[in-house]
Amino acid sequence: MNDFVEFFSFSDTNIRYVTLGSVLLASSSAVVGCFTLLRKRALVGDAVAHAVLPGVCLAFILSGTKNPFILLLGAFVTGWLSLVAIDFITARSRIKEDTAIGLVLSVFFGVGILLLTAIQHSGNAAQSGLDKFLFGKAASLVGEDLIAFAIVAVLLLVTTIIFYKELTLLCFDQAYAKTIGFPVRLLELLLTTLTVFAVVVGIQAVGVVLMAAMLITPAAAARFWTDKLSLMLVLAALIGAFSGVAGAFVSYTAPAMPTGPWIVLIVSMIAILSFAFAPKKGWVSRLLRQRRNKTQILEENLLKLMYQLGEQKPNYDAPRQLHELLERRAIPQKEAKAGLKRLQNQGYVEKLPSGWKLSSQGQRRGERVVRLHRLWELYLTQYLHLASDHVHEDAETIEHIITPELEQKLIEELDFPVMDPHSARIP
């Protein structure tokens, strides 16, 4: 708790730096990542991230310093080259994009590791810390470095906002963008450059290997919560920022813990939680919906059975025993009982000492299900010319889903029918 208060009071300059740095890096790459994701080029970010390593090493070898601007420049050049290579391979050979990405990623990364090993064995004292590019060094972001990366991060955010309209159209409908005279090639180049920059600054926080996660995961998580692009960008930025702060906090309380991997772990947790719990699209809400459908089907089937029993006499008010229902249709006894209980609570059936009885509302709902079933059977035989002995199974499911508007339409199209194909009355 003490740690918590101390950290979030931001009284320590170092903590301020690290937190601010992580937040800016994580949120700017998240925002750019949204467009990369929507453009269906998620994997490209991974290729760029790996391709940045040889650039960093080359910049160090050529300049002999670890000046962040020079290293950034080197990273940018090879990162960008890798994208050119991917486009070239896909355009000029029969190799598809996924294969090209795999090829470019491994070749560039291989060269990077080669150079890095060479530097480490060269005995150059200035090289220490260069390997931080592999897994990031968010915890040791200070002074000069931080200013450089913060500037780039802010530039990224501002550029994305300025070109919001253009980038959106580019991702949604590139051909249309071209026909209204947008400079599509330039916009593509812009998005590519933004992606490379996002990767280049992002690897400061989480490193080459995990960078793809920072680009794509916040965007993918945000997409679960909203259908509005502007909101998706804000959410992705917030998710990125939150994981940045949380990662910095973890490495503050446990200095042995690496910040970058923690940031990635946290952002991945958020993505998994979004996948599970987001409204409508989430896994849990889909499961709940399926359960709701199942209970609805069971309850309506029970009402239908009771109504059909009433049709025989006809006497809809007579109480029925459970076994009478189960004789007509195989429903597990426990489920049927629970279903009847629920229907009783909802006021569709009444429990009498002599059995279960439909209430007037229950009678109406049962009648409607029977009506929909028979209407659908009639529709299938008349409009799809199906044999009358083939339509029952289909009607068993459709009867639960038809809306009142569709029901009205069905009745009109069938010209107010009286009998179904099995010569049963349509109630």
Partner: protein, 263 residues
């Protein structure tokens, strides 16, 4: 029968288009009159969409040129509207119906500028014209095929262009949408706009269009509907594939041959 017109709104001269070196359109020479409702008709793989895309400069052209309003297309982009095939975009994109229709104003706005109130009014009006105003806030992934097509049409209307190129607007839409679209196209023609429609259904072509272009890898015919939709010309378009032409195209691809000698 290929009828050329004076003062055409669209002029296609010796247009050859190839995919991966294999020509799919050979030497098209075509002129279209102003204010016509034009149907581009031919079998699958005839190159109908390819021709429209090449006219819009969306595909690299092997030879020839296209002029619209007697100018290169880049000079008249703001007078042209293109309605791509419905399947060409991802309808799961995070956007509302209104967002997509508002894109119709982007061309006139140019870069950087945000849509103004007037552009939003125009977008709403366009939605009104296609009978979709009630769906303005709907997420586009929840639309039916017909509704998607109407949204694309509304976006084109919001552009307020003089000439419209539509790629299969009637493909996979319900009858109500088809009727609504054709009504709309007729109104546009009455306002003096030229509409060029890629179409695959011969039955309705007669009724819909007043100018027909028959296409099957080459231009078979172009002219007023009643002169073009004849037994003989249709047989030329749909009947017997031009086996030699296809084989030569294949050969160009396999041998990596240019379809025109270098200039």
């Amino acid at each position: 029968m290929i009828l050329q017109v004076d003062n055409p709104v669209v002029e296609v001269h010796d247009l050859t288009v190839s995919y991966d070196r294999k020509p799919v359109l050979w030497g098209i020479d075509l002129t279209l009159p102003a204010g016509a409702l034009v149907g581009v008709i031919g079998p699958n793989g005839a190159g109908k969409s390819t021709m429209i895309k090449a006219m819009m400069d969306l595909l690299p052209v092997g030879s020839g040129y296209v002029r619209i309003f007697d100018k290169p297309i880049d000079e008249v982009r703001n007078r042209i509207s293109y309605v791509p095939q419905r399947e060409s975009v991802d309808w799961d994109f995070p956007a509302s119906v209104f967002d997509v229709v508002l894109m119709g104003s982007y061309g006139k706005l140019g870069l950087f500028k945000r849509p103004r109130k007037a552009d939003k009014d125009a977008a709403m009006e366009a939605l009104n014209k296609v009978g979709m105003q009630a769906f303005a806030d709907r997420q586009i992934s929840q639309l039916s095929g017909g509704q998607q097509q109407r949204v694309f049409l509304a976006r084109a209307l919001a552009q307020d262009a003089d000439i419209y190129f539509m790629d299969e607007p009637f493909a996979g839409v319900d009858i109500a949408t088809e009727t609504a679209i054709i009504e709309l196209l007729r109104t546009m023609r009455e306002q003096g706009k030229t509409v060029i429609v890629v179409h695959h259904d011969l039955q309705s072509a007669n009724e819909y269009f007043d100018w027909v272009v028959l296409l099957n890898m080459r231009l078979v015919a172009s002219g007023p509907t009643e002169h073009i939709l004849t037994q003989e010309l249709l047989e030329q378009t749909y009947g017997g594939k031009l086996t030699v032409l296809t084989k030569v195209g294949e050969l160009l691809r396999k041998q990596e041959f240019p379809s025109r000698e270098a200039k």
